[in-house]
Symmetry: D2
Subunit: 285 residues, 4 copies
């Protein structure tokens, strides 16, 4: 739209002068703020801030900004994260055999909805490769067995590192990642769970929902942590089901939900709008 921008994502203990200090930093260097959002978790006394400004005419070069801002940050004890709109995050998508979420992400990428570069599709099965081809992304198969899991994960990590991957998206990847893998990508692995968490954790949530006779089914996109299905939630949605729905039609409705919810979560992440803390997220959408 308007040319290149910088984004600062900030969190720290709430205290006086935070917004003033950040906006003064931008203004003093000649920047025009295009978006600014702020939130305080009052019970926890944590301040969250997202500020985006135009780089055109800014007094500092992109590579000088971090150094200059770190003085402000140190004064307030801020955790911060600086990104530029022309530096698109590199993304790997993991998938097993269900390809609806994967293809949806590839399509959103093609339409320019995702502010990132998909650099690899990784799967434990070869099945989905032919549908990825027309989009032109490399497809890597790492078959997983009980025996080779650790070794294969290591090879996956090597691949991700060689490609400079920042974000791993589990687009219905039917393997549980090891704690080792998860710890390498803290709050940088996004999963789609096919239920309204925390209802129906674990395997076969549509079967569980069918048995329980719920009137809504859901999908949840969350960061992956070492505790399965317990990571901070980024986005959720539901749709209505009735007694007329079979397990099969519930799964079909769920496909629509899953791709919608995962697509939104990935888009928000890539626009640097998600701030995880504890079991929660602040989403500046």
């Amino acid at each position: 739209m308007a040319g290149e921008t910088a984004v600062l994502l900030i969190s720290c203990r709430d205290q006086k002068g935070l917004v003033a200090a950040v906006s003064e930093f931008v203004y003093r260097n000649g920047g025009n703020i295009t978006h600014a959002e702020q939130h305080v978790d009052v019970p926890e006394n944590i301040f969250f801030h997202r500020v985006e400004w135009e780089l055109k005419g800014f007094a500092l070069d992109a590579k000088e900004i971090g150094g200059a801002f770190s003085e402000v940050a140190q004064h307030f004890g801020m955790k911060w994260y600086l990104r530029f709109s022309d530096e698109r995050a590199r993304v790997a998508i993991f998938v097993s055999k269900f390809d609806h979420c994967l293809l949806d992400l590839l399509y959103r990428h093609r339409m320019g909805e995702l502010n990132g570069e998909i650099v690899a599709v990784v799967s434990n099965h070869p099945d989905v490769e032919e549908h990825v081809k027309p989009f032109g992304f490399p497809y890597h198969v790492f078959p997983i067995t009980a025996e080779n899991r650790a070794a294969q994960e290591e090879r996956e990590v090597e691949l991700l590192e060689s490609l400079g991957v920042e974000l791993v998206v589990l687009a219905r990847y039917m393997q549980v990642l090891s704690p080792l893998f998860v710890r390498r990508y803290p709050n940088r692995i996004i999963n789609i769970h096919h239920s309204f968490l925390p209802a129906f954790v674990g395997a076969k949530p549509y079967h569980q929902a069918y048995e329980r006779g719920v009137k809504l089914i859901g999908a949840t996109s969350h960061y992956v942590t070492e505790e399965v299905d317990e990571g901070p939630i980024i986005e959720q949605d539901v749709c209505r089901v009735t007694h007329r729905d079979s397990l099969e039609t519930m799964i079909a409705k769920g496909r629509d939900l899953e791709r919608q919810v995962l697509g939104k979560a990935v888009r928000l992440y890539l626009q640097h709008r998600v701030l995880p803390y504890g079991r929660k997220t602040v989403v500046f959408d």
Copy 2:
């Protein structure tokens, strides 16, 4: 609208000729069917049917219909339930201190949305009485303590029986009913739970939801069974929350959800549209 009608709610093992037999029974006696819905639970092989017809010009008197239909029913092993539109179910509403669901039901009653008669409001606290008065319904207080619970429940049952109550609605009634009470009103007690069940069962679901950082909160209306929060679900809905929502605003949003969901469940019950079976319901809406 069209004058008096009869409704038959039927369930039985699925077999050939069911719809034909019921519709032939109505036609043979000169009735015009205004609504007919049917459902088969294929895995369980159970047939469900709801048929409504005009009584004007019907060959049988209201009191003869049951006897005449029982022949059809016996032939197929049907469980059935016959109701007339001019015979409005008698309803008692139980409430504690939160009155939003109660007042909403009273208002819906006044607007003619509920096909029933509210004959008593029962509470373990006197607090809400003054707001019920303008609607003109009797208000009964039965204070509950750990010691007097059983005795008070007995008095409540006496009252309900003396009033010919068919349906008990728990409109945020903060006491757990004893198994004895529940067994007297099988599938005739409707509760509102302030979460999207089965997420956040038990106490303080909004607190649980706030702690978990969900992006949607819900409400669930279900039949009360002996297992708390496990009865067949009649209706559910959700609304969106964000990091900006405090526990207080979540509770306020929840009030809107709860009254909406409970109001719909009660309306559906009173129109004889709900067929519970096992942990599920068929809702012919």
Copy 3:
């Protein structure tokens, strides 16, 4: 699921004995009804019925059923429509340059959500062909100019007739079909309009919505009639927008809505669940 079935879609003047006559016809010939829905438009006094039964063990061959049922139909003055689950409707999809609805339909077809055969993709532009190829459907280009419109439409109709097309889906086809074309496919052309009709009829509805400052945008799938944007509505949905949405993000949100709404409308049509009458539809979903 259960093997082959037959579906009857019926409408006629409401009168006594309709459900009985149809269900008796099925039963007499040994059929088991799996789904039956009925509706009466009381102000218009029109009866609508959808009945589906298993063909296994049915006394009549598929090709005898119509003849046998026509006696029942004549007696009551029914308009009726008989279909078999193993006889899948042949579908042509028209598209211009936006391919999100098209690709979504092709994907739903691949997943088995659509009870029909896509036999042609027709476009006035070559742009989308490469994305259709992996799905293996033939792609036909008929460039349209002010001068050749009538001639090209004739060629399109020839193609559709040679392929035995029953249903034409306009998946963001940016040309207005001539009355001649429309009359050849009465209630057999389904369009997706990118607004909540009747708001924002005509061109550029997202621009109109943006200018008006609405808080929800919508999409509407409807039958095409000679009056543009006035045909019977099959399905609609909306999503929330805010002041933060630019025209561009509204269009992106709209893509999600459009493919969802059109996908559902086409699925319902192909399951023989839609009965249009006047400006309305009965949808037995």
Copy 4:
């Protein structure tokens, strides 16, 4: 929650240093910002800002703040609006015979959801008075005829002025206010229209929706301007209807929508979260 706060609502031509200047003003005087939101309408180049801070420990008295801030405002050409959380806006509610929106607002007031004082209920009919009584608000009847309209409006304005009314809420008030009245309360009259505007403007929108066969009905809350149904929209919502809905059940569903949508719009206004401009609003929720 946290004690008294001040809120500034600001709009002006977008330019550098706006956020810095406002936050610096707050910080310099010892305030802690609890909420800050900002928006730029890029095509129109307008900046919008809402900032809220704690008054505890603030260097300026409430009555000095405006004067001190006006220097900042003048420098940037800001339009601004300063409010304090302990200074609750005075509200009059206008109603005719349908009382669902009115009673809902009174209930929300009682529950503490509305940051304002209801000082009068005004009606052209006496019908609703008895239901207002238990809430304890004064009820004023001004019968309107074609002849006395102008005179009665003048008396209404006198009443509103004597009561210091800031916000007029039309809670299904079935009279069109004169341009004279509207001009006295620019962007301070909120109406609920019983359709998804701009669909079904004018009278009897549910009848129009029923005739058109839509699958969703809506409600819209908007500021009243001299052009009927054309004012800036604050909030909208929809719910699903089907062929089974009669005009009567659509109206009942609409009641739920209307009270929900109007309640939310009034709550947002009273929390100083709505900034109208042209035909649009910025809603900082």
